[in-house]
Symmetry: C2
Subunit: 389 residues, 2 copies
């Protein structure tokens, strides 16, 4: 049973590296190993090995970008609108890869994984990871396990876009093109603030127990509140007005009580918070938000222009007009610093009533922009590839 | 010891009404009594009784608008920048009144007050209150207790502005002029969403105990998270960038741990959350946010134009360009509906990098706008007052 325009039934694969006596050294200086990486691939690698597209996921994402894990899976992968036969990232043309980030809870090593030193889950003994560490693990997967020397494109939105930037900086010779979407060179004070309040909600849940809750009741209520906060920041005032307005939830008038939700928007948030805790680990939420907060290309390289000094990729930078969490001015900062280094950069601010999450929605504007950028980039690669001359 | 430009040492006064066998009927239909009202006044009522200015406070405010309760009080009243001799609301010219809203926790009857039926705090047996109920109680104070028949002006920001609108609608003959600041005719879906997440943070704190925590440990952690969320919405992306940026808190580099805050903005939020819980009751936070959510002049009167049909006041409507919680478009909706009713309305969007809280800051723009509006209004009153003819 294959959906129309879908990659069909897919499965998550697993790879382990940094096995003892080897370890992976993280940016903080901590050593970790073994490291498991959960990943999916779609499409076929071309004989020229020049059509690999790496997708980096956002805070709550995973390796499951497209298709379904089985005929009964209700929702497809998190970017199924973009990835598939004939779609923006066309799996008839490109070999698509995505892996769950280190620190996550969807198959890659994270705080819920077993600490080999104790035989128990790491919990807060898991070392802090950074965007650079996430990219380092992806690099190991792509080169050591998949045997690729070049990536036609690295793309992703939000935290995924941060990884795109780090890829182009750390592995300039590997990244032919880069498409950071709704992203930034460093999280704003407001972004850090929202992350911190989400973490405080988790810390405040007595079930959190300083991170040591595996085997017991997880801090569901704290994580649900964190997710609700996040959700508001991913939407926009106008999209919430259009979607919910002040419509009441299954009632003719307000209830004058603290029972069932009065308004649809309350019901929606409660549902989103409640369903998230069934699929996400609270400690991973803490680690990944910290990784986002710590990301700061200016601080790391002295200036953003300096950060991009060795970049060899072509860039398509995309922002959304309705995104107030990663506003367009942050994407423009990227564009200016890239252009200051002579990097071929296309910038595209897409008009949208939606907020930060707009890139996850069906949007022909974005699909078309990426489709054309990839096709053009692929053509350039094929024209300049020595093996084709 | 009187500060320069300060009303000096002031005290909160108390008035009780709706004493048995009387009760106050609330909008929900619930009956309540007795009702205590905490209030402060500054300046002198003129012999003509034509210079009274009523100030309505916002979510976390109280009756203590200006001056100090004693020489040791570190901070003055919440709008001390605006109210005092020679200030925007000049206590040398006007008799200023402010009362704590019903449902609050600063001296007026609210969920922490004693329920006469049980002799214990109401907790969630306190009836739900609305903006209209808050105004009704203020009206009783102003007419029955202070003996006033007219108010030269009713003003307030945020939830205070909602009360201003309700005053002009419910008591049109009493309100000579009205100055709603950073306000709206109904809270947006986004505003309801933020309120709901704050409430969920409180509900999630096991100490909340369905509201029944008086005499025990209050739900401090939940209320602190709610306040942190609120605080972010009162600031703006640009004001947070200017105030904190990504500055680290007492450290040279990030800590790679979940201990002390890495960034100043985190430290600030933790401090603000922690200090709020020492001065505010979590149940009052629940009741007052519900009152804000329920406020909806369009729903109550069929249309906003209809809501203002009997208004007799002159209006000065003020918004701030950097306010994304009560954005300028909401103030413009008020202006259009007022003007459609022929109400003399001045609209003023003040440029500010600050967010919703801008009206609480020292701001000569706002002081001057209000000073001139009050003076002009007072002159008009004196010219048209039959006793002066």
């Amino acid at each position: 049973m294959v959906d129309n325009g879908s990659v069909g039934i897919v499965e998550t694969k697993h790879w382990r590296f940094a096995e003892p006596p080897n370890t992976l050294e993280l940016r903080s200086g901590a050593m970790i190993g073994p490291v498991d990486v959960a990943y999916e691939t779609y499409g076929e690698l071309s004989p020229e090995r020049d059509n690999a597209v790496l997708i980096c996921h956002a805070l709550s994402g995973d390796a499951h970008v497209a298709g379904r894990h089985g005929p009964d899976e209700r929702k497809g992968g998190w970017w199924d609108v973009m990835v598939g036969p004939g779609k923006g990232i066309d799996t008839d043309r490109y070999f698509v890869i995505c892996s769950n980030c280190i620190g996550g809870c969807k198959g890659s090593t994270g705080p819920s994984s077993t600490n080999p030193k104790t035989g128990r889950p790491y919990a807060l003994d898991f070392p802090m990871v950074t965007i650079q560490d996430m990219v380092r693990v992806q690099h190991a997967l792509v080169t050591e396990h998949l045997g690729l020397e070049r990536l036609l494109c690295v793309t992703g939105g939000s935290m995924g876009g941060m990884q795109v930037l780090q890829w182009a900086i750390d592995y300039p010779e590997m990244v032919v093109s880069a498409v950071p979407i709704a992203s930034c060179a460093r999280l704003s004070a407001q972004g850090i603030a929202f992350d911190e309040v989400g973490r405080q909600a988790i810390y405040s849940d007595p079930s959190w127990n300083d991170g040591d809750y595996y085997g017991g009741e997880p801090p569901k209520r704290g994580l649900a509140v964190a997710r609700m906060i996040g959700h508001i920041t991913y939407l926009s005032d106008s999209s919430m007005r259009a979607k919910f307005g002040r419509n009441l939830q299954d009632r003719e008038e307000v209830g004058y009580d603290f029972g069932p939700p009065d308004f649809q928007v309350e019901s929606y948030l409660r549902y989103k918070g409640g369903s998230f805790v069934e699929r996400f680990d609270a400690n991973s939420y803490l680690y990944i938000t910290k990784a986002m907060d710590y990301f700061d290309l200016r601080a790391d390289y002295g200036s953003l222009i300096n950060a991009f000094r060795n970049v060899q990729s072509r860039f398509l930078v995309v922002s959304y007009s309705g995104d107030w969490l990663f506003p367009t001015y942050q994407s423009k900062e990227l564009v200016r610093a890239l252009q200051a280094n002579g990097v071929v950069t296309t910038f595209c601010e897409l008009e949208s009533e939606y907020g930060h999450d707009a890139f996850l929605l069906q949007d022909e504007q974005l699909s078309q922009a990426i489709r054309e950028f990839l096709r053009h980039t692929h053509n350039v690669v094929r024209r300049t590839d020595p093996s084709e001359e």
